[in-house]
């Protein structure tokens, strides 16, 4: 049997690097994305969002001027009625943009019958899939970086104070986390575009998942926690265990992970994202900011969880794509 496997693997031995043509695919994909009308609409949407929320935040910060060490970070988190804060908008918009970018990336090629033509070139399927993913990711990164620079520039102009190095580091990490959060939705939408031959179905499936995590998962987590850890005697331990289970369940959702990670990054005074017993806070100096390394440590599980989920989704999509018959 070992010989068989060896023979089988031997048959599949590659010739040349699987990365051949990867950057050509990336460059072409980016060019397609950046010139598409779909991207224009999304860009206008996000620029308007950014300008509106930052303007509102700046008005708010100016009117309640205080000795805040992290004035720049407040630009992202301050909400001015009726607009929510910039980070709130991002939690909503990033998945939508990611899904909109890639929901038809593979099945679109199928329906246009261009896939076999591409693969007739000396490009592996690996390179094609990764190139499409990276192309979309770089597009996202480009757009978000531009928005981030716009916000920092507006902040400098509007607040008149330069940001401290820690503020820059924290907001830059916020940008990175946002891009990677986009990555998980890219991987998801790409997987669906491999599974479903119809782009509309793939888009609907992706949106369904997004809606499920945005709206329903919190409710389901609450119900699940109540069923799995029912309160029998009314001890405070029971309540605590139930709440912890519910929190653990909601953290399966990438939206929750992203929201918590952003909260810890942009509000340095956040010490813990879980439940804190009053005894744990005895003697604590409340409101004192955590060093950046500690904030990072706090959200490290979130970040690794997001990254691992992205990789696993990509692996799933890759496996499915490799096993697909494309000579249609």
């Amino acid at each position: 049997m070992a010989i068989e496997i060896a023979q089988a693997t031997g048959k599949r031995e590659r010739e040349g690097s699987p990365w051949t043509g990867l950057w050509a695919v990336v460059a072409k994909e980016m060019a397609d994305h950046l010139t598409s009308a779909r991207m224009r609409v999304l860009e206008i949407l996000i620029v308007l969002t950014a300008a509106g929320t930052i303007y509102g935040a700046m008005q708010n910060i100016r009117s309640t001027i205080g000795q805040d060490r992290f004035l720049f970070l407040k630009l992202f988190t301050t909400a001015q009625e009726p607009l929510p804060a910039f980070v709130g908008f991002m939690g909503l918009l990033v998945p939508l943009i990611a899904i909109a970018l890639v929901f038809d990336t593979i099945n679109g090629e199928f329906s246009r019958r261009t896939l076999s033509r591409i693969l007739a070139q000396p490009i592996y399927r690996d390179a094609l899939l990764l190139g499409k993913f990276l192309g979309a990711l770089f597009t996202l990164a480009l757009v978000f970086t531009a928005i981030w620079l716009l916000i920092m520039g507006l902040g400098l102009w509007g607040l008149g104070v330069p940001p401290s190095s820690e503020e820059v580091a924290r907001s830059f990490l916020f940008l990175l986390v946002t891009i990677f959060y986009g990555g998980i939705w890219l991987a998801l939408a790409m997987t669906f575009s491999i599974i479903f031959r119809q782009p509309a179905t793939a888009a609907l499936a992706s949106l369904a998942v997004w809606l499920f995590f945005m709206v329903f998962w919190d409710i389901i987590a609450g119900v699940l926690a109540q069923t799995l850890m029912p309160i029998r005697f009314g001890f405070s331990e029971e309540y605590l265990k139930q709440a912890q289970l519910e929190l653990g369940l909601t953290r399966l959702s990438p939206t929750t992970l992203y929201a918590e990670a952003i909260l810890a990054l942009l509000q340095p005074s956040i010490r813990s994202l879980g439940f804190i017993l009053p005894t744990q806070l005895q003697g604590a100096i409340l409101g004192s900011p955590l060093p950046l390394s500690q904030s990072l440590l706090l959200i490290w599980p979130h970040l690794t969880g997001l990254l691992a989920a992205t990789l696993l989704l990509f692996a799933l999509g890759y496996t499915l794509f490799q096993r697909q018959e494309i000579r249609a």
């Binding site: 599949r12 813990s272 003697g283 604590a284 969880g305 990254l307 691992a308 990789l311 692996a315 496996t319």
Partner: protein, 388 residues
């Protein structure tokens, strides 16, 4: 009969008319036609006082010139008769009108106490009169001040105020203006108070007594020991001194701090971290048996090495290592840790340390392992399904 009766009546009438003149004629004894007197012939006077006595002369005889002189004057005294601002020697006296003249008596320079007799004589044409005047020079009490206190020795700590109360009495016969001066060693600031007011000088009438409050404020860095404060009250040529004693007992004043005064540190959750604490004695006496205690956030352990400092001399400091251990599940962030040093003699001192709790990076490693597994899965998928 009727003629005899009329003659008798006439005689009686005549006699009745003549009788007064007969009586007056009998009063005019030789030498008594001049009356020489003064209202207060015996007086008590002070030393150095010049006495002026108003004298009166009365004569029944026809108007005449009466000469005045002193029959007896004590040695050294000067007696002069004065009238209209001048020295006079004779007076013109009219009958039944009092003539006045002043007798001025001047004391010699060093007059002794006692009674002095002066006899003045007024000589007229038909007689003379003498007037004896006694002047008693009273011995004046010499000026004298006394300053007394009931509690001349007080005990206290450095930095406290020693309050003595003393009685100052003017035992002399003169009113005095008293100046108060204190000679105190360095580290003492002496103030005087009378009726609650700060004074350095005040009038004190003869035989008057005043209660004086002497307040000696000490500096807190004063070394323990016995100090002498001399209080001097000066009034004119006399003075009175009072020696006061202040027994200052040294005090241990502790200070809890850290090297370079940096009262902050870092500690990892669940790990023992040494924290340097400095206990210094800034007082004036050694501190004994200093116990180190702390109040920590709940779940923390803290251990001092050494746990107890037996003796810490004044001006010395000792470094103590506190092994701080936040609990395993401590939430990252800043906490307040209070370290107290309690000597057997003296007050407890404390310092607040700000400890930043850092959480372990162990879970970060776990996250990286998780990502590594995901990468491995992708790699495996590539290995398994990678096509030509």
């Amino acid at each position: 009969m009727k003629r005899w009766f009329a003659l008798l009546l006439t005689l009686i009438f005549i006699f009745a008319l003549a009788a007064p003149s007969v009586v007056l004629a009998q009063d005019e004894v030789p030498g008594k036609e001049i009356t020489f007197f003064t209202t207060y012939p015996s007086q008590v006077v002070g030393i150095g006082e010049t006495v002026t006595l108003p004298l009166r002369l009365r004569t029944t005889a026809p108007a005449q010139v009466i000469s005045l002189s002193m029959k007896e004057v004590p040695e050294g005294w000067t007696a002069t008769f004065r009238g209209s601002g001048r020295a006079v020697e004779a007076v013109y006296a009219e009958p039944n009108v009092d003539a006045t003249v002043d007798l001025r008596l001047e004391q010699p320079a060093n007059v002794a106490a006692g009674t002095y007799k002066f006899v003045a004589i007024a000589k007229g044409e038909h007689g003379s009169a003498e007037l004896t005047v006694f002047l008693t020079i009273q011995e004046k009490t010499p000026p004298k001040l006394t300053l007394k206190t009931e509690l001349p020795t007080l005990k206290g700590t450095p930095g406290s105020t020693f309050r003595y109360s003393a009685d100052l009495k003017n035992e002399g016969g003169d009113d005095l203006t008293v100046n108060l001066v204190a000679e105190a060693p360095a580290g003492f600031q002496v103030n005087f108070k009378v009726s609650g007011q700060d004074v350095t000088s005040f009038p004190l009438a003869a035989n008057e007594s005043k209660r004086l409050s002497i307040e000696a404020q000490t500096v807190s860095a004063l070394e323990g020991g016995t100090y002498r404060i001399v209080v001097r009250a000066q009034g004119g040529v006399v003075d009175a001194t009072l020696e006061l004693t202040a027994e200052v007992t040294g005090q241990a004043t502790l200070l809890v701090t850290a090297p370079e005064g940096r009262l902050s540190g870092q500690a990892y959750a669940g790990r023992e971290t040494p924290l340097k604490v400095i206990v210094a004695n800034n007082g004036t006496a050694p501190a004994n048996a200093i116990e180190l205690t702390s109040s920590t956030p709940s779940g923390w352990t803290i251990e001092f090495d050494p746990k107890k400092i037996d003796t810490l001399n004044a001006g010395q400091q000792v470094e103590v290592t506190a092994k701080v251990r936040p609990p395993e599940k401590a939430v990252a962030g800043d906490y307040v840790l209070t370290v107290r040093a309690r000597p057997a003699n003296g007050t407890t001192q404390s310092a607040d340390f700000r400890i930043t709790v850092l959480t372990s990076t162990l879970w970060g490693v776990v996250g990286i392992v998780l990502v590594a597994i995901a990468v491995a899965v992708v790699a495996m998928a590539v290995m398994r399904f990678g096509r030509r």
